[in-house]
Symmetry: C2
Subunit: 311 residues, 2 copies
């Protein structure tokens, strides 16, 4: 069988997520071939590196696709530049700093005939599709989300995450919402929320959210960045067939307390396979529902002023 010609891809924003996840996934893939990177910080040693996406696109015309790993505040301009140059675009989550700008990119991608992929890596966790199949058969009676981690451990030095538009604790929390909106058979919407802002930060460090669906099914979410002992990324669903528990951000699955056999966690390899399939099929995949829930939480939620937060 003839080996496919790999898609020539460039990375924009060579930070923690690019080095931890995107580059290993690209190197392990035979569908993509790294050809360049652009970043204000590090570039990828051994490959052509540029300070801006515009310089990179001008200098390396063979680029066919770009993966955007810059903070969300800078994602729109980078995505627009790439789409205008006729490149396919993968965006890290969240796909933008505002909902409106992503709608604009969707329209541009359609006009340009390019693939736009607003990726949600947690949807590629191994427990997600089995959980979705189970809940299609056994509708949820209630859902409890606990997403508690130590921000000092997981986001060291990421100043952008604390700025307006950086989303604070919703940066990990939106991963839970991306799983929730994928596995639930019904649409939920926020009823009330409380967002806790440190006195010296522009983004929340904790949030409590109460959703329900049209039939009154309740979803409670507890996002907290102040957890220093038991870090948890769990979604627990009660059903008529017992409890379904997605643990470790979707890496593990229990049914009525019994661990289910799953494949290894390979979120980013799966995500890149989906990107390749979208490009091949000439399609885009932009689901804004996780970010819409976050925007709703900021709009509807009560703000609680907390004490100072020190690094």
């Amino acid at each position: 069988m003839k080996k496919k010609r790999p898609i020539k891809i460039a990375i924009v924003g060579v930070g923690k997520i690019a080095c931890d996840q995107h580059l290993p996934a690209i190197w392990a893939s035979d569908e993509f071939e790294l050809v360049a990177s652009a970043s204000l910080g590090e570039t990828v040693a051994g490959w052509p590196g540029f300070r801006s996406i515009d310089d990179m696109l001008a200098a390396v015309p063979k680029i066919e696709a770009v993966a955007l790993c810059v903070p969300p505040q800078y994602r729109y301009m980078a995505a627009r530049a790439a789409l205008l140059a006729g490149k396919h675009v993968l965006m890290e989550k969240p796909p933008g700093a505002t909902l409106s700008e992503v709608e604009d990119l969707q329209a541009l991608a359609a006009r340009q005939g390019c693939t736009l992929f607003a990726s949600w890596h947690s949807r590629h966790a191994p427990a997600v599709q089995p959980a979705k199949a189970f809940l299609a058969e056994w509708p949820p009676l209630s859902v409890q989300i606990v997403w508690r981690e130590d921000v000092r451990l997981w986001h060291p030095g990421q100043d952008w995450i604390w700025q307006a538009g950086g989303l604070g604790v919703f940066d990990p929390g939106i991963n839970a919402l991306s799983i929730l909106t994928e596995i639930l058979p019904s649409r939920v919407f926020l009823q009330r929320a409380t967002l806790g802002f440190p006195a010296n930060r522009a983004a929340p460090i904790a949030a409590e959210l109460f959703f329900q669906d049209a039939d009154g099914m309740q979803v409670h979410a507890d996002f907290d960045w102040r957890e220093t002992t038991q870090q948890r990324w769990d979604i627990v669903v009660q059903t008529a067939a017992g409890e379904l528990r997605l643990g470790d951000g979707g890496a593990s699955l229990w049914r009525q307390g019994a661990a289910q056999a799953l494949g290894d966690e390979k979120e980013y390899p799966s995500l890149y396979r989906h990107f390749a399939a979208l490009i091949k099929d000439g399609r885009s995949d932009v689901d804004l529902s996780p970010l819409r829930h976050v925007a709703d939480a900021f709009m509807l939620g009560l703000r609680a002023q907390l004490g100072l937060f020190d690094h």
Copy 2:
């Protein structure tokens, strides 16, 4: 010519906006006929009045359409009850407390074969369509919105407006955004914003917003509820053909300083004519872009803590 049979309509939420605008528009229309009202406060003297929409729908089956004038926090449940009963629904602005719930109502209206109209009354102001036509020919170079009013004068006793989800100064400000999104030939999105919250209120009393479109055209908006001297609801657009100014919330229009002849302000009669046309054509009209911009502002905006606000 045979006179059309009027659509039997009920009002839900008989407060200030219902009495000031909806009831006079319905009474003046030969396309609608009021048959009942439901409200926790006053009902409409001389017509059957109920304490809840469910009671009303059960007692008055001839109702064909409902106009929802309850605060946005209560709009979803009322709209859902009406749609499930097969009624057409007009929603006052904003159409909901969250974007997600309105998406859910859109899906429900489509399933039920009912008309859902998320109304934006300011779009029916007489300057709006002439301005839109002008800007289609002369694209805007920049836009300045000044929406400054005295909250004590315009929203006396409206406690819901200060609660989480009540939107604060965005309650009038969203009118400006509904005009902006109607008249602009391009899509804009928020770049940065500052929202000022009184220390004793859960909603902002002032907001400054900076939008731009993909080509860098700038829109600046100044929303303020603390204006006690010169109340203004102006949108000023610079073009290559001079300045276009929509004044008084779209009731007046100036081109290069010269007042343009317009019809009388008849926002709600026009809005109800549009509702009747939608019902006749079996269509819905739900444009979420003004509310999406507000959600973006809450998500992206910097929060400034202000002093106490006293009634």
